[in-house]
């Protein structure tokens, strides 16, 4: 660590120690001006959980509309706005902020640093992201006002041209979409740069790259991937804004422009984005599974290599979203094969997790339950992914509910399950109190059942030919029962999430005291108090292996004797 790498010591000290004394206004002021990575991490996570509830409510409204044929719960226009906002919110205002929130909170602790590499940039990035989200939601009341649902975007989260052209999307709905995401995109870029600099330059003594905890490794890979993923979207959105405001012709087919180019640019962002979301989930599983199996992770170097491999491969698979556009046979073949290639590193990961659990002394606490379900569900999501990667199969099922089922299996079955695992796992560290295990198990089982009722059934709807993005359907298509089942599953998931939300609030006041290390874990964040002091560690830690706390607890059998 070179010269003054830390923010002004006094200001942070004062900000976090004054605590309960002072008015609500002062308390609020402290949170707004904070540059502490732990507070910013919590802000990210609270912000994301808020939008999770909002976008979840939108999903429920969508499912109520689709539960019975010919329904009029939502108008066609409102339905379009709701599914666009559901997708956009879940990806940009829930998925990325919550995962970057975990990174903010955990990575500096895991690498034994006092804060992120650039605390002020960190705060700036959060507020950019937050304003991006508020700006997007202002569309409900801004512009056309609250008639219908204001001027919320209604062009799908992929915003295909030429639907986004001025002629077909008058008013400001599409502008809200583009400008809000450009804004939050800059915030994401800042955070990604910050995480990379933190992991590489702020590691404590002895923390070599091959001793770095896997969650931090994965966040390094994700941040690198974010750099080359978010910027193409920003570029494409700048082009869209140029088209809409300055009369440009990028996606204007009447002037020689191309709508397919938008699709390419969007999916050059859109596919790696899936990995930006799922790799942190892998990182969470990498922390939780070993701790609750009481074994060191199996195949650490292979895990690192597989993560880097996934990041690289994910950059060359985007056009598997476009098999029905009419590409050349060569392009189709290339994207089929490159997509299949993703199966190899992900397979390595699944086998490594299984090998970690194998023969372990498993504790099925709530985090482990969620991670176990994640393993099965992610495997299934991968299998339907391989089905969809086969171009002829894709021609049959493209834009059907099979696709919706597949990506929700990844986004919910893998990512959301791991996010819940992470919250149960790290909540004691952040608040000093345990979440209720009893409520946690209710949450887990209800959510698991609801998830499978909804998304397993959705696959069949897709095979039966139900297209996505339709606001209603005729009663004679044979989709009635299945749609009702899907909607009921949604309600069960909603109940589970409400139990979870209640648990979060209840445990904050009434939860069991956690102590420093409630899970008997091995990485550095468990070496400090819960919640950690603003300076994190009283003395800079020195590590000699991948599991520094194991070495402390078992001086007769330390890890560094076995690691080369």
């Amino acid at each position: 660590m070179s010269e003054n790498s830390l923010p002004l010591a006094g200001s942070i000290e004062a900000a976090s120690s004054s605590g309960s004394a002072g008015t609500i206004l002062e308390w609020l002021h402290e949170w707004v001006v904070t540059v502490d990575h732990k507070r910013l991490g919590i802000l990210y996570i609270v912000y994301a959980i808020f939008f999770l509830l909002v976008a979840g409510a939108q999903a429920i409204a969508i499912r109520i509309q689709l539960a019975v044929p010919g329904n009029h719960f939502l108008s066609a226009q409102a339905y379009n706005r709701f599914f666009t906002m559901h997708g956009t919110t879940m990806v940009f205002l829930v998925g990325m902020p919550i995962l970057f929130g975990f990174a903010n909170y955990i990575v500096p602790l895991q690498v034994g640093a006092r804060d992120m590499a650039f605390p002020r940039l960190n705060a700036f990035s959060f507020w950019l992201t937050a304003f991006g989200g508020l700006f997007l939601y202002y569309s409900f009341i801004g512009g056309g006002g609250l008639y219908g649902v204001g001027s919320a975007p209604d062009v799908g989260w992929w915003a295909y041209a030429p639907l986004t052209a001025r002629a077909f999307s008058p008013g400001h709905a599409t502008d809200y979409w583009a400008l809000a995401l450009i804004l939050s995109g800059f915030g994401t870029l800042g955070t990604a740069i910050n995480i990379i600099a933190t992991v590489i330059s702020m590691r404590c003594k002895g923390m070599t790259m091959m001793r770095l905890p896997l969650f931090s490794w994965l966040m390094l890979v994700v941040s690198g991937l974010t750099l080359v993923t978010i910027t193409p979207l920003t570029a494409a959105q700048i082009m869209l804004v140029i088209d809409r405001y300055l009369g440009g012709h990028f996606f204007d087919t009447q002037a020689g422009g191309s709508a397919v180019v938008w699709m390419h640019f969007f999916w050059i962002f859109g596919h790696p984005e899936v990995y930006v979301l799922v790799l942190p989930a892998f990182g969470i599983a990498n922390e939780v599974i070993p701790v609750f199996s009481r074994k060191a992770i199996f195949g650490y170097p292979a895990m690192v290599a597989a993560s880097v491999g996934i990041a690289f491969i994910s950059l060359s698979v985007w056009a598997h979203h476009m098999f029905t556009v009419g590409m050349t046979s060569f392009s189709n073949t290339f994207f089929v094969l490159s997509t299949m290639l993703v199966g190899i590193p992900t397979g390595i990961k699944i086998f490594n997790w299984l090998a970690t659990i194998w023969g372990g002394k498993i504790r099925f606490a709530t985090p482990m339950l969620f991670c176990t379900a994640f393993l099965f569900q992610f495997l299934l999501a991968g299998l339907t992914g391989i089905m969809l990667a086969v171009a002829p199969w894709n021609w049959q099922l493209h834009n059907s509910y099979f696709v919706v089922a597949h990506f929700h299996y990844v986004l919910v079955g893998a990512i959301v399950f791991c996010i819940f695992a992470a919250i149960y796992y790290w909540y004691p560290k952040a608040t000093g109190r345990m979440l209720s295990e009893k409520l946690g198990k209710w949450h887990f089982w209800l959510f698991l059942i609801g998830f499978h009722v909804t998304f397993d059934t959705m696959h069949f709807l897709g095979i039966l030919g139900m297209p996505r993005s339709i606001y209603t359907y005729q009663p004679d298509r044979g989709w009635n029962t299945l749609n009702m089942i899907v909607s009921l599953g949604g309600i069960i998931q909603a109940i589970a999430v409400l139990i979870f939300a209640f648990n979060l609030v209840w445990a904050y006041f009434r939860g069991k005291e956690a102590g420093n290390d409630p899970w008997d874990a091995w990485t550095l964040e468990w070496d400090t108090t819960s919640p950690p002091p603003s300076y994190n560690f009283a003395q800079e830690p020195i590590v000699r292996s991948r599991r520094p706390l194991w070495d402390v607890k078992h001086p007769e059998d330390p890890d560094w004797e076995y690691e080369s």
């Binding site: 010269e3 740069i193 990379i196 941040s223 750099l227 990028f250 020689g256 180019v261 070496d527 020195i542």
Partner: protein, 198 residues
């Protein structure tokens, strides 16, 4: 508080992770490269696809002088970096000022070129696809030059005020890295716009 981990036993061996500013700048450059790549790909894809004139062959003139100025500014900022690392403040101020002048000449050249294109040739961003892609790609680069010049000028003002010294060499090297990137991008933009597209 921390347990036995923070045992005062000194760590054997050297522990010097890389400078965080440098890492961050490399990360920013990676992201910016992706941003430019999309604009460059769009430019290449749309070459010759305009449905109406004017075409690049009719109106574009190769900005050789501006290009020479911008590319030599990479050399002058490297000389400035070397000067500050050796604590030769006057040489540093001279080369930094030289760099800013070269950047300004380049920007002036772009301004003159755009003025000609808009007022003499009637090419604006909404005229045709060439106009759309040309102004957005060259404009994106020019905006990076402006950001770079702003930061260099701030640094220059601090230098004149006597607030810059040898201890800032590492940070100045990070800024210089950004400037080198802006120059390198121009090589790509120049090749695409004035050689391949003309």
């Amino acid at each position: 508080m921390s347990t036995a981990l923070a045992a005062p036993a000194a760590y054997e061996g050297e522990w010097r992770p890389p400078y965080r500013g440098r890492i961050a700048m490399f990360a920013l450059i990676t992201g910016e490269s992706a941003l430019f790549t999309i604009f460059v790909v769009a430019y290449l894809f749309y070459i010759g696809k305009s449905l109406s004139g004017p075409t690049p062959q009719q109106v574009l003139e190769v900005p050789i002088f501006g290009t020479i100025c911008l590319l030599s500014s990479s050399l002058t900022i490297w000389l400035a970096e070397r000067a500050i690392a050796r604590n030769r403040l006057n040489a540093f101020a001279f080369w930094l000022g030289f760099t800013i002048c070269l950047g300004l000449i380049f920007l002036g050249g772009t301004a003159i070129e755009w003025h000609k294109l808009i007022y003499r040739d009637g090419l604006t961003i909404s005229t045709n696809l060439f106009g759309t892609t040309y102004y957005s790609l060259v404009g994106l680069h020019a905006s990076h030059v402006i950001i770079g010049l702003t930061m260099l000028t701030i640094l220059f003002l601090f230098t004149i005020a006597g607030r810059v010294g040898e201890q800032h060499a590492e940070r100045i090297a990070v800024l210089a890295l950004y400037w080198h990137f802006v120059d390198a991008v121009w090589v790509v933009v120049f090749t695409v716009v004035y050689i391949l597209g003309r």
